[in-house]
């Protein structure tokens, strides 16, 4: 039974786990930290984890390198990484891996393979599925706006790339223009409002991030325009607007429990289990049939947070078992 990458088998439980976060302030991160802390608490009870150390790079990839370096210096047993840049951390992560530290990277991924595991949904598939749904809604014909995350960020780029073949295959769909904003409501609302004045005919919004969708819906609403089919994510605000404005919506999700899963995977790897190098988490789809089940849980989540699907150890074990 071959061990996972990086693991040398010399580390004994209970383990010290480090979470190298890029920025701990946003709500998604805060929720994610919650799942990580819960998972650590569970594992502590099982005597597997001793300590959780959290660093916050305040959005600065350079600082994150430094903090991961400190984790390596402190010789902790596992490092969970939410990367601030898809390339910047490659070398320090490789260093950690060389020291036998279990490095698990989730959500925002790095390019290197010198780590124990990467955990994520498929950003390409994300974009492709959203585009497919929108094309179907418009019957392959119409003018759309594409809303992206910040320029120069891999996740945003990957989702957009995933949508491209679908759009290319449907020449009836015209992309009037695209926006690049932070994944936030206000700038998205501003951008879409400006576009609404310039373009009287927008038939659909291909939004590749949850808060962006909420901003778009609000822009249509405030300008008194009829809502158009809009894609998005499991942001509570978007889901609530979707229901309230009765729009044609579609959403997928980047579950916050990717964080918890990462801790679990790291510990399993340290225990000698062979963890797959890439753990692909299937994208759940939220549509008119399932939205009510999500909204039913809404009050357990922050208003500007994300309503994620439930998780348990059985789910994690199943995901870890895939190859």
């Amino acid at each position: 039974n071959a061990a996972a990458t990086c693991i040398k088998g010399d580390r004994k439980a209970p383990y010290t786990v480090g979470w190298a976060n890029i920025y701990s302030v946003p709500t998604w991160m805060k929720q994610t930290e919650g799942t990580i802390a819960d998972e650590v608490a569970t594992l502590k009870k099982q005597g597997l984890v001793k300590d959780l150390m959290i660093t916050d790079a305040q959005g600065n990839a350079q600082t994150q390198i430094q903090q991961i370096q400190s984790m390596v210096d402190a010789n902790i047993d596992a490092i969970i990484v939410e990367a601030g840049s898809s390339t910047a951390l490659n070398r320090v992560i490789a260093d950690a891996c060389a020291k036998g530290i279990a490095v698990v990277n989730f959500d925002s991924l790095v390019d290197t393979d010198k780590l124990t595991a990467k955990i994520n949904t498929d950003s390409n598939e994300w974009g492709g599925a959203a585009a497919k749904w929108l094309v179907a809604q418009l019957n392959g014909k119409g003018k759309i706006v594409v809303m992206n995350g910040p320029a120069g960020v891999s996740v945003s780029d990957d989702r957009r790339k995933g949508a491209q073949p679908v759009l290319a295959a449907n020449p009836g769909i015209e992309v009037i223009t695209e926006t690049n904003t932070e994944y936030n409501v206000a700038p998205a609302q501003e951008a879409i409002t400006s576009l609404l004045f310039a373009h009287p005919d927008i038939d659909g919004v291909l939004s590749l991030g949850g808060a962006l969708s909420a901003g778009s819906v609000m822009a249509f609403d405030r300008q008194g325009r009829a809502q158009v089919p809009t894609t998005g994510e499991n942001a509570r605000q978007f889901l609530e607007l979707w229901k309230a404005k009765k729009l044609k919506g579609w959403a997928t999700m980047q579950p916050n429990w990717l964080g918890a899963l990462s801790v679990y995977a790291a510990v399993k790897a340290l225990q000698g289990q062979d963890v797959p190098a890439f753990i692909k988490v299937p994208l759940p789809v939220i549509d008119d049939t399932s939205i009510d089940s999500y909204l039913a849980k809404a009050k357990d989540f922050p208003a500007d947070g994300y309503i994620y699907s439930p998780y348990d150890q059985a789910l994690f074990d199943k995901l870890l078992a895939q190859h």
């Binding site: 959290i54 916050d56 600082t63 210096d73 402190a74 898809s86 390339t87 320029a151 891999s154």
Partner: protein, 321 residues
């Protein structure tokens, strides 16, 4: 009555000693942090540990120098971060090209010098406020970086990464070299002209100091240092990232001001700025080893920055009273 003024035997050294004035408080704070860090992490005293630590500090030290240089002659730059990104991007896209690593190095140097000098020309000859020219510049430079490399990637030869950011203290050695170069520069007429222009541009002009030329030169050098910081970041990470530098803008200002460099020009020293950047850098490590949770990290960071400025002021006030 003895009219002959006391002329120190080593004028240069005497002047240099005087310039430490007002910085001793900061030096003490930095030393305290370094000692605490070394106690928490004895590995710091090994070659490898020291190398890694100095590598993480190095780019911040460079951009702080770049910012302090401008602030000393009465300017400021809000384009430091974007220019670091651009430096990294230029390195990452050109080193894989036909001209190789050396060609990439030249490209970065040229990019830094040209962009810096252009900014300087606009500020000096059109008499526009540097803060807003560089704000506009930051958007333009970011745009160029995004056009050159829309998403992180590119190529940096591994030997270069190993050489600059491996397990030897190359970065520290480079910093020493750059500091020596800075000292030599300061010992040129242009170098002290920099201070004179920042402090009293009219007086400097009347003394025959080429005010505009010095402004342009300082922007050019500042651009060069910033772009080189970008090159180093590219080597350290093994790649280019069009938005990697963003937070360097504010951090470079914080480092410089922490080090006693004033906004109105002509006030402050490079050694102070470097000490300021070192404090910003070592603080991150110390907070990690003390096991601070994120909330405490933010609060402590604020307290340390304010404290490093306020404590020396208080100490001197207390001493006087």
């Amino acid at each position: 009555m003895n009219l002959s003024p006391s002329s120190p035997r080593w004028l240069y050294l005497a002047i240099q000693r005087r310039r430490n004035r007002g910085l001793n408080g900061l030096y003490l704070v930095v030393a305290a942090f370094l000692i605490v860090y070394a106690i928490l992490f004895p590995g710091l005293l090994s070659i490898g540990g020291f190398s890694k630590f100095s590598q993480n500090w190095f780019p911040l030290a460079l951009v702080t120098m770049a910012q302090a240089l401008l602030m000393l002659n009465g300017g400021i730059s809000l384009a430091i971060g974007p220019l670091v990104s651009l430096g990294a991007v230029v390195a990452a896209i050109s080193m894989g090209g036909p001209a190789g690593a050396f060609g990439g190095f030249v490209a970065v140097v040229v990019a830094g010098l040209v962009i810096g000098a252009l900014t300087g020309l606009i500020v000096a000859y059109m008499r526009l406020p540097a803060i807003i020219v560089t704000l506009a510049g930051s958007f333009i430079i970011t745009g160029v970086a995004l056009l050159l490399l829309p998403r992180p990637g590119g190529y940096i030869p591994d030997w270069l990464s190993q050489a600059l950011a491996g397990h030897q203290p190359t970065a520290f050695a480079l910093l020493v070299v750059i500091l020596i170069a800075w000292k030599l520069f300061l010992a040129t007429p242009t170098g002290i002209g920099l201070y004179a222009v920042g402090d009293n541009p009219v007086g400097a002009f009347r003394s025959g100091v080429p005010v505009e030329r010095i402004r342009v030169v300082s922007f050019a050098i500042s651009g060069l240092l910033t772009a080189l910081a970008g090159l180093f970041v590219a080597a350290q990470t093994g790649s280019g990232d069009p938005v990697i530098g963003t937070s360097f803008t504010l951090n470079s200002m914080a480092g410089a001001v922490l080090g006693g460099v004033g906004f109105l020009g002509g006030k402050g020293t490079m050694r102070g700025a470097i000490a300021g950047s070192l404090l910003l850098s070592v603080m991150i490590n110390v907070m990690f080893f003390l096991g601070f949770p994120p909330v405490a990290q933010y609060v402590a960071q604020g307290v340390i920055i304010v404290g490093a400025v306020a404590i020396p002021v208080f100490a001197s006030r207390w001493r006087k009273a």
